[in-house]
């Protein structure tokens, strides 16, 4: 059991995460029925407000708070109890993030910030919305630096020793997060806030978009890396074996730091202001991420197969039957991984330079991130919740809750297959994303979108309803694990933090020399961004004044 203060800290983060999850998924339910033209909102609420809340609460708030809850617990578990300074700064960081989150949510709900979670200028939200966003990010930095301090203390006490894999991966995640946030923090502090409060009249729109996407793509890896930590460290334990290769696990995390940041232009392929050369260079760097992804896939299947063979599996695929399917902690994360196969394939299409034009800003993209962040990441977090919450509350995962958890995971999977397939197909046909229901004056092209079995807004609504049912079931499960389940007894498997052994005796020491890797990452960022960003600043057109189109 970890220290009491860390327990409270982690639980507070998880509580905020699931509160955001509750409101955010409800917003999702409203959207699927509005897009199906079956629901009208009261006059004080509009579709784009709901959409903004859905994006911010699920993609930013649920993920971020859950990640810190998980990492705080794991860091305390693998490096020991926090000292007073680490504790204090973790709490300060938590509250700063919370203030930013609550403030931003109030601005959105009161209709002063219907700018969606990408907040593209020159749509202008209230100045406080941007201040709240800055607080949200700075709060996460404070929590990150508190944990980095904890790690540095451990390194000082253990000179010349490689850190435990969990701590190492946490540090890699923070390196990625802190470097990538520099872009959005620069945009918010130096562009949006002075402009929104009226200190300057205009804003450089293309620069703000580029700074946003410098942050926006690594953001998705910030969600993904903690999920990968569960795949690399928790899964081998659950199937009864060790981490496949300590050094490869570390190397793949380093490659994610290098190749997830200098790639933001692949979100801006169809826009003016950046020349084809820089767009293509960043496309090339984007695809380098295929390498650590293939390494991860290999490690995972190697873990599955070795564990199956140890249990006596025969034949080419006999090991599949030996996996612990009756353990919901395993099955949930396994399904999450399976969703990442089509999710990753779709990502390759999105980033493919010209091919991007077919799907850019269509519903395809919405389908894509629901089977990347919305399932591989979110369902891994659900799978983590099934043991992390009991571990922190000192309870156990009882039989009834376990059954509920199977229903929850199954319904999330079915709902997501229906909804995201429909979105993918509709997007290929050309239906736009981020758009309230519209038949464009009964245009025949548009009416043709809704004839198919999958290309149908009813399919989206059915999928969305099943997903909402699943989300509410998850809230029930979380509450049961928190307050209702019996106290865990000794040697209760479900009340443990499952973390696999990792043999680092053959791991080269240079893998933990952060300065080398952060240096290479910065060099790649400068190569990919210095010239096009300079161009956007020096050869800028007159700026844009703000617009409040809602």
């Amino acid at each position: 059991m970890i220290g009491n203060s860390e327990r409270k800290l982690a639980l507070s983060n998880i509580a905020v995460a699931y509160t955001a999850f509750l409101i955010g998924t409800f917003c999702g339910l409203i959207q699927v029925f509005m897009r199906n033209d079956r629901l009208e909102l009261p006059a004080w609420l509009d579709y784009y407000q709901v959409l903004t809340a859905h994006g911010v609460l699920l993609a930013l708030v649920y993920t971020t708070f859950f990640i810190y809850g998980f990492l705080i617990t794991g860091m305390s578990k693998s490096l020991g109890t926090f000292g007073p300074k680490v504790r204090l700064w973790s709490w300060i960081g938590f509250f700063v993030t919370l203030i930013g989150t609550v403030g931003a949510t109030i601005e959105i709900i009161s209709g002063r910030a219907s700018v969606l979670y990408t907040f593209y200028a020159p749509l202008k939200a209230s100045g406080w919305f941007y201040v709240d966003l800055a607080l949200l990010i700075i709060g996460t930095w404070i929590m990150s630096f508190a944990l980095i301090g904890h790690y540095m203390q451990w390194r000082r006490k253990n000179p010349g020793v490689l850190s435990p894999l969990f701590a190492y991966m946490t540090m890699a995640t923070f390196a990625l997060w802190i470097i990538s946030c520099l872009g959005v923090v620069a945009a918010v502090l130096f562009q949006y806030i002075p402009w929104a409060f009226g200190f300057v009249d205009t804003i450089n729109v293309e620069l703000s978009r580029s700074l946003f996407w410098y942050f926006g793509h690594p953001l998705v890896y910030f969600w993904l890396l903690p999920a990968y930590m569960a795949w690399y460290l928790v899964i081998p334990k659950l199937v009864g074996t060790k981490v496949f290769s300590d050094s490869l696990a570390r190397l793949s995390f380093l490659l994610f730091i290098l190749f997830s940041i200098p790639v933001g232009f692949h979100h801006q392929l169809g826009e003016p202001g950046v020349s084809d050369f820089w767009k293509f260079l960043q496309v090339t760097l984007t695809f380098m991420v295929v390498i650590p992804t293939l390494m991860t896939a290999f490690s995972l299947f190697a873990v599955f197969e070795t564990s199956g063979r140890q249990k006596g599996a025969k034949g080419l695929f006999g090991w599949i039957g030996k996996l612990p399917w009756s353990d919901i902690r395993f099955t949930s994360i396994f399904i999450a991984m399976a969703f990442f196969i089509p999710g990753g394939a779709g990502g390759i299409i999105n980033a493919s330079f010209q091919l991007n034009e077919f799907i850019h800003n269509t519903l395809w993209v919405v389908g894509h991130f629901h089977i990347t962040v919305g399932t591989p990441v979110a369902m891994t977090f659900m799978g983590i919740s099934f043991w992390l919450i009991p571990y922190l509350t000192g309870r156990t995962l009882g039989k009834t809750t376990k059954k509920l958890a199977y229903v929850q995971i199954a319904s999330w999977s079915i709902g997501m297959i229906l909804m995201s397939s429909a979105q993918h197909v509709l997007g290929l046909l050309g239906a736009p994303r981020r758009t309230q229901y519209s038949h464009y004056n009964d245009n025949p092209t548009v009416l043709g979108w809704f004839d198919g079995f999958f290309s149908n807004t009813a399919t989206i609504a059915i999928g969305g309803t099943i997903l909402f049912f699943s989300a509410m079931l998850l809230i029930v499960i979380v509450l049961r694990l928190w307050f209702v389940e019996p106290r865990s007894l000794e040697n209760d498997l479900y009340a443990e933090f499952p973390i696999a052994e990792s043999d680092s005796s053959a791991t080269p020491k240079w893998l933990e020399n952060w300065w080398i890797w952060i240096g290479i990452a910065l060099a790649l960022i400068i190569i990919a961004y210095a010239i096009p960003i300079t161009h956007l600043i020096q050869d800028a057109p007159p700026g844009s004044k703000g617009f409040i189109n809602w």
């Binding site: 020159p122 169809g270 826009e271 293509f280 290999f298 269509t362 758009t435 519209s438 464009y440 245009n443």
Partner: protein, 157 residues
């Protein structure tokens, strides 16, 4: 660092596939001119109506095989609202925005570009079949975003 033999094969296969893939994308882009929309020209977003070529939006014949269509995007529509172009000819769309970020998107074609205030986007496209083509905005631009569309008439020459 130890790599399992199967992992070496797996990674080599993956990396070679990746290089071939990037090679194909690069050749089609730069040797065959199949690049996404873009453009480096700038404009004062406050003075779009008085700046050429946007002071006279519409269809302009450049030569026998090429036409330029100059369009202004604004909340929530496009100017001019009626556009007629010939099938089988190269059409160069030249678009800017008078206010916020929009898109200029013709579903089922390769025309899908962002329109950013202060900047001018270009895309060249040849319509093979005559007909009425829906054109819409797929970047959120305000509460009327889903009403922002127009139609392009493509006619037999």
């Amino acid at each position: 660092m130890h790599l399992h033999k199967f992992e070496k094969i797996w990674l080599a296969f993956g990396i070679i596939t990746l290089l071939v893939f990037l090679g194909i994308v690069g050749v089609t882009a730069f040797a065959q001119g199949q690049t996404p929309a873009g453009g480096l020209d700038i404009i004062d977003p406050e003075k779009v109506d008085t700046t050429a070529p946007f002071d006279k939006p519409g269809v302009r014949k450049i030569n026998d095989n090429t036409y330029e269509v100059v369009i202004k995007a604004m909340t929530y529509g496009y100017e001019p609202s009626e556009i007629q172009v010939p099938a089988g000819k190269e059409i160069i769309f030249t678009v800017t925005s008078k206010d916020v970020v929009h898109s200029f998107t013709i579903p089922n074609t390769k025309v899908n570009m962002m329109v950013v205030p202060g900047r001018i986007s270009h895309k060249s496209y040849t319509f093979e079949k005559p007909g009425t083509y829906l054109t819409l905005c797929n970047e959120y631009c305000g509460t009327g975003h889903h009403f922002m569309y127009t139609e392009i008439e493509v006619v037999e020459e």
